[in-house]
């Protein structure tokens, strides 16, 4: 790794690119060459640094941490001269009051432990030498020269590493089965089809620390005896794909992939396969069908991939985060890893916090932390001082958990018992303004849409569930709907072919269990307590606060509002389409929703 005197981070988020971030980088490079500073100053691209409202492009110079905004390529020669040659801050552009932030990944909070995310934002993902500087590929070296495949598997078993894709199957056991399976040709696959809405942990690992995944896969390949690996990455992540491709090329060019790795008999190579926009391809058998070039439809298991996987050969398939944990376990030992977490769930887990929480973004916490600690300590509480209502964990196949369950320690078992799942790590926080029936309907819309259609319980069942929920949200719910939802959910859960169908009813079941009152209010009182479901709410203009400014009447798309200037306006309920625009535009809070 080359050591630089200074590092310049240039924000290349879309807004800054539009304003010429790349032209700025080019000019900066040229100027550094001209001044002979290329060996001293490193220029890196980074996600958004500051407030999107600043004029951009932003750059931050380390180690000083000087943040310049609103700077263009015209100013670069002066900046280089002042900052890098004379060592003076160019005050004109320095935004001293703004702290540089990476919106997705801020500095670790007190209850966080960074293992998988350790290198992210710290090393240059496009330079393999940065990974070496963080002891990269040391674990692979150790494995290939000092350990037998059986010892590697034992180490992973001792660490009690479990699948981070969500199901939590012991990784070491999976490897053992694949090792024991008969056959000369075996494969390892990395499942990078991170399709859960709200989950982007794997994307950041692929984009920020690609070599940890490659190293983990190499170790797995050595342990099970595979010669070829595939990374199945979703096409919605173009930056992840290009970063991984570059990382693979770099690893190959210095003999860390390919024939006779590190001079041993072990040969292994990797290829990236891109998804084409099908959520179900995150299911392992569907994923393999997709790599083979078919429709991504799941098949019944057994046979499990460890025995009959890709092209019928024994295959080990793990998630991105699982592989990224492997080099650290080999290097620091199973005991170190097993010292974190709960009895059955060891280590740490990354989560993507989203929704109505103050600090959205990526976090990594040890298993056993409570949901309350995650949301209020790490996440900084609910936005706008509103009240917490529910947290949805595990993606669209997960459940919504209420306030009363916030003190549950987070691990695979407790979340399962509470009616949700660990899933891949999406965590959506909802405040009191969220209607739980609407949320259940929303998730059913997703699963119904993403159901591949192969098996009847999932294809037809999710559709029926959605119909009933839509009916309830439209104010047409009737006696017996709740019972039918319960019955259908049970049938779909028990009879579906793959995890998608088996998990699909979870949002409905968990909201029924924890928020039955809301269902009842919708069905029997024709009322939406959160005031979200349009058919069940009414907009009215209050006599007192209304000043008769006519803004609402002018903005109403259907001309439902009438009234003279300076007199209280009235909404004609027969014409009103409940779009809520009047509520948004009223400056006097005169619109009441009932």
């Amino acid at each position: 790794m080359t050591f630089y005197r200074s590092t310049v981070l240039v924000s290349v988020d879309p807004l800054c690119v539009e304003k010429g971030a790349y032209e700025l980088i080019d000019t900066l490079q040229d100027e550094l060459i001209k001044q002979g500073l290329l060996d001293e100053v490193q220029v890196l691209e980074t996600p958004r640094l500051g407030d999107p409202e600043t004029l951009g492009p932003d750059i931050v110079v380390y180690p000083e941490g000087t943040h310049y905004t609103n700077i263009t390529y015209f100013d670069i020669p002066r900046l280089v001269e002042e900052h890098f040659i004379k060592g003076r801050i160019l005050k004109q552009y320095a935004a001293t009051m703004i702290d540089a932030i990476d919106e997705e990944l801020t500095a670790p909070k007190s209850k966080e432990i960074r293992v998988v995310l350790e290198n992210i934002g710290v090393i240059d993902p496009r330079n393999i030498e940065d990974y070496f500087a963080k002891d990269g590929y040391m674990a692979l070296g150790k494995v290939l020269t000092e350990m037998t495949p059986e010892e590697v598997i034992q180490e992973i078993l001792d660490a009690k590493l479990r699948g981070r894709g969500g199901a939590g199957f012991p990784t070491g056991l999976k490897w053992k089965f694949a090792r024991q399976a008969e056959g000369d040709v075996k494969y390892v696959i990395c499942n990078a089809d991170e399709g859960d809405p709200g989950a982007f942990m794997n994307r950041r690992v692929l984009e920020g620390d690609p070599h940890s995944v490659i190293e983990g896969m190499c170790i797995a390949a050595y342990a099970i005896g595979a010669q070829q690996g595939y990374i199945y990455c979703r096409a919605e992540y173009p930056i992840a794909v290009s970063t991984m491709n570059l990382a693979i090329k770099q690893a190959r060019s210095i003999g860390l992939l390919g024939k006779n790795i590190l001079g041993t008999n072990f040969s292994f190579d990797l290829e990236i396969r891109m998804g084409a926009g099908a959520f179900v391809c995150g299911e392992e058998t569907a994923l393999m069908a997709s790599i083979e070039g078919s429709r991504g439809e799941p098949r019944a298991r057994p046979p499990f991939p460890a025995n009959k996987g890709l092209w019928g050969k024994p295959t080990n398939i793990n998630n991105v985060e699982t592989y990224a944990n492997v080099p650290r376990i080999i290097q620091k030992g199973a005991d170190w890893f097993a010292s974190m977490g709960t009895e059955k769930s060891k280590g740490t887990k990354t989560f993507a916090l989203a929704g109505d929480v103050n600090n959205t973004g990526l976090i990594e916490v040890p298993f056993g932390i409570t949901l309350r600690e995650i949301i209020f300590d790490v996440g900084g509480g609910i936005k706008g001082n509103k009240k917490f209502k529910a947290v949805q964990t595990g993606g669209p196949m997960g459940g919504c958990l209420p306030e009363s369950l916030l003190d549950l320690p987070v691990d695979y078992e407790t979340l399962g018992q509470a009616g949700s799942i660990m899933g891949s790590g999406g965590m959506i926080v909802m405040d009191e303004g969220t209607c739980m029936v609407d949320i259940a309907r929303f998730f059913m819309e997703f699963t119904q849409d993403e159901s591949c259609g192969k098996c009847v319980p999932c294809r037809v069942g999710t559709h029926r569930l959605l119909e009933i929920l839509e009916k309830i949200c439209a104010g047409d719910g009737e006696e017996g709907d709740i019972e039918e939802l319960e019955e259908l959910s049970d049938q779909i859960k028990r009879n579906s072919l793959c995890g998608l169908g088996q998990g699909a009813p979870n949002p409905v079941v968990s909201t029924l269990e924890h928020f039955m009152d809301e269902y009842k209010a919708h069905i029997y009182e024709k009322r939406c307590p959160a005031k979200v479901c349009r058919a069940l709410i009414k907009y009215e203009i209050m006599d007192g606060p209304c000043t008769g400014c006519t803004v609402c009447a002018r903005n109403c798309p259907v001309n439902a509002i009438s009234g003279e200037r300076k007199e209280t306006h009235v909404i004609d309920q027969d014409i009103c389409i409940k779009c809520g625009i009047c509520f948004q535009v009223c400056k006097f809070d005169a619109i009441n929703i009932t």
Partner: protein
């Protein structure tokens, strides 16, 4: 997106080039279809027939794969493809209002293409940038923290 409309003969030539570059085994089918969608915006009947010969696969197999994946398209798309993220994190931070205003501004429902061939409106699965929701993607430009009021302005940037 295609800038010129190719005739059948030219299309076939281009398809042959793509297959030559990517490969003609079964496992290459999805990458090939992906490349065709990117280049032509659509996988046409002509293309599928040609692929059937080149890759030695029944046309029905190609059709079945092409219609399964969201990113592969058997229907022609407009010059600009607007994709709105309809995932939960965007939904809970005001995505529903943005989507309504988007549909109104374009006068399109998801899946439709405008009569002047300028716009196609689609919904997309999560783009993984949930920290800045609601999010929409126009061609390859990503817009985050979108409000209903900004929609008109964003759309007006496209010719």
């Amino acid at each position: 997106m295609p800038s010129v409309t190719l005739n059948e003969e030219e299309t076939i030539q281009e398809v042959r080039k793509i297959v030559e570059r990517i490969g003609s085994t079964r496992a290459d089918l999805i990458p090939v279809l992906q490349a065709i969608t990117n280049q032509f915006g659509v996988i046409s009947q002509t293309t599928m027939l040609e692929l059937s010969t080149l890759m030695n696969l029944p046309t029905k197999e190609i059709h079945s794969v092409a219609t399964f994946y969201r990113m592969l398209s058997t229907q022609a798309r407009g010059r600009h493809v607007v994709q709105f993220c309809e995932s939960a994190p965007c939904h809970v931070v005001g995505g529903r209002e943005v989507f309504a205003s988007l549909k109104e501004a374009l006068s399109l429902e998801p899946g439709q293409t405008s009569p002047d061939n300028k716009w196609t409106l689609l919904t997309t699965s999560c783009l993984g940038v949930c920290g800045i929701g609601p999010v929409l993607l126009i061609d390859t430009d990503l817009y985050g923290n979108v409000t209903p009021e900004q929609v008109e302005d964003i759309l007006s940037r496209y010719e």
